[in-house]
Assembly symmetry: C2
Homo-oligomer: 428 residues x 2
């Protein structure tokens, strides 16, 4: 781990930098596959599934029989865990419902805002070694609360043409309306254009490798919205002497095991704590099954000593971490001052993995500094805020003149005329 | 105007199509200017201002003296109109504030969501013939309510090096913190990278021509967020025999005068109403100052007769208009059934221009079918929803097992370990 002592403000830019990737090579492949899926539909999808996933599928859609068979395979203990997590995620996201906001801005002028669900959404769930059924919960639960009508889930099949049973179980439990065995670029392309089997959707959610990330970006060129730009996972822990070094080390490592490019940073006002955490990391790292991955991430990670708490806070705000753990005596100082972070974990007994699975908050969060300008996924991610207005005869008489004057000053005579005609009709 | 009678569902895709633009030519220019502004800052900005706006500026920033001088030039009548509009916009957007949402999902596990302002935002206000001071209100008012710290406004100078006084007046009134005389691609690039004079911002809002639109898209490649993808303005009016044909025509024309590519559609269950509106449009069009523009838009506009109300509603939802005016006897049918629209105007005395200026709703709305997946600009556009969680000893004992089981099943041992360590420390 790299140790940095009281960095100067002119070093912050380098310290807050994330590894930049060059997506140009990938873009060509993505554009090519998009074109083929747009033109040939399922034929192209099946071809690329065979190519990338090594399996010839006769049917893309997961059948009810397959679903039932898979559900039996999920251990009861895991089912119960998934159910408890779901209950908490449901509670927290249901609490985010907002009532219709109505206000009479001027006598006779009533305006209101209502949120209505995005009708068709797509969830992408990666396959591979770590079956992310937790992400199914994080996306399908709020989608169902929001009232999205079609919830389509795409996940790549394994070499036997199957999707991990826990993913299928979670999907069924959370009201996913269609599950498709398709992954990677071809899945995103399928949901963008629609094929014979894959429904076209309006917004695509979910994590993925660099191919999926670029494919989601390309999808936005075709009118599809996406949850957010994705990047490697990140954690900043801010700790003083009151923290437990072993706990801090375990949190840093849990982020580090995600990938070699994971971003892990400890900011501390205590040099002793930095030493202790460093030792604990070394110790705990040795016994991890994903040691090789975590080791690479840890090699790039930073232990930053910042003497002054205000400076520490300012640095964290500049970094804008996806996850922030606060383990300091005066936690309110950081809590009130943090402006840019995806999700914040407070105190000794709040590991970041609680938010990944079961506390109730969402784990789909802005990385790569996007916490400065993006929210994490929340109930509103599945809704659109629409506005409405109804003006009475009195209302148009009250604001008509104002509209006429403003429209005239902007040189928009027809805008003015729409009001003038109405006002004239009301003259007695 | 094109008349279409009871279109078949297979014609809908053509009828809901917007004109597509090829931005490829523009992209090269945009990328080039971005590169130069990134490397040379103000020097590049000044060069392109001279090139595109025909004026050599020694100072980019609008000074306090300039601001004072300009404010004197705005007629009192217009100042009062702007103030009334501001009051209504403020009332409606203040009502959109949401309290902190806090919930104990499991005993000892407290989660909450709080919204915090995006610290630095940029507003782009086009110059040219129509000075859009109304857009200043629509963007700066909610930004100020949200609590954004830096509100930067860029607008191109005229040939005398000035910005329209009404824009400056509105900016000053609504708490814009810096006003810069810079337009087009160079303005967007300046706010993306920051220059000696132009502050770097986290999110850029506002309309613009095709160069600005592409520049905003390119800006997103550099970590900046934007309000939404922009396209030509649109209006759908749904009217039955109860509507006033002259009013409907005036609304269609007020949208048509925006640009030759404006999208204007009347959907009606009454053939008579279609005939009447067509005649009224012809009559009113003749006397408009922006007749040439409106004429072109009207030539492409459509009068669609749909016999069945359910089909009419389904068509409108498929079109997903930026603006929808409902002037029918059974307005609740459309009101309850509309899923995809930016802003909805109900009844005879609610012209679309009311929402453009003074009713209180926002006029920055999704075009080009984006009403299916995007909200219009609202208070939340200037905020990020952040989540927080605090878990007690009891809390981690309550959900610890669940996290361990799920992390293990996803193959993430370090995630599990972060919990196990804490649980063990609590064993007596």
């Amino acid at each position: 781990m790299k140790k940095i002592l009281n960095p100067n403000k002119n070093e912050w830019s380098a310290l807050t930098q994330r590894p930049t990737k060059n997506y140009k090579d990938i873009e060509g492949t993505v554009t090519q596959i998009f074109k083929e899926v747009q033109q040939k539909g399922d034929v192209a999808v099946t071809k690329y599934t065979s190519f990338f996933d090594g399996i010839e599928l006769s049917k893309i859609r997961v059948s009810d029989v397959e679903l039932k068979e898979a559900i039996v395979l999920v251990p009861n203990e895991l089912k119960d865990a998934i159910k408890q997590a779901k209950t908490n995620i449901e509670a927290f996201h249901s609490a985010q419902k907002t009532a219709r906001i109505e206000i009479e801005t001027t006598e006779g002028v009533t305006c209101w805002q209502e949120k209505r669900p995005i009708q068709k959404i797509g969830l992408y769930i990666p396959g591979g070694t770590a079956p992310l059924f937790s992400t199914v919960l994080m996306l399908a639960v709020p989608a169902q609360i929001a009232g999205c009508k079609e919830i389509v889930l795409c996940s790549p099949p394994d070499r036997e043409g199957k999707i991990n049973p826990a993913i299928l179980y979670a999907a069924k439990l959370c009201g996913v309306t269609q599950i498709l065995k398709v992954g990677g670029i071809q899945a995103i392309a399928g949901m963008t254009f629609g094929t014979e089997t894959i429904p076209k959707v309006y917004k695509i959610f979910g994590p993925g490798n660099q191919f999926v990330t670029v494919a989601k970006q390309v999808a936005t060129q075709f009118g599809v919205a996406i949850d957010m730009p994705a990047g490697p996972s990140e954690l900043v822990v801010v700790a003083d002497d009151s923290a437990n070094a072993a706990f801090v080390a375990s949190d840093l490592l849990s982020q580090a095991e995600h990938g070699a490019d994971s971003q892990v940073i400890l900011v501390s006002t205590s040099k002793q704590m930095i030493e202790k955490v460093e030792k604990e990391v070394e110790k705990q790292l040795k016994v991890l099954p994903r040691k090789t991955t975590a080791e690479k991430a840890i090699a790039n990670s930073k232990l930053i000593y910042i003497e002054n708490v205000a400076t520490a806070l300012a640095f964290i705000n500049e970094y804008a971490p996806e996850h922030l753990i606060i383990v300091t005596e005066n936690e309110d100082f950081y809590l009130n001052g943090i402006q840019n972070a995806g999700s914040v974990f407070i105190g000794k007994y709040t590991p970041e993995s609680a938010g990944d699975y079961a506390s109730g908050t969402n784990h789909t969060l802005p990385t790569n500094g996007y916490a400065k300008n993006y929210s994490g996924v929340n109930l509103d991610s599945f809704l659109k805020a629409m506005t409405f207005q109804k003006i009475t005869e009195t209302g148009i008489q009250n604001i008509g003149k104002t509209i006429e004057i403003m429209a005239e000053a902007e040189g928009l005579q027809a805008h003015k005329n729409a009001v003038t005609l109405r006002l004239k009709s009301l003259e007695k």
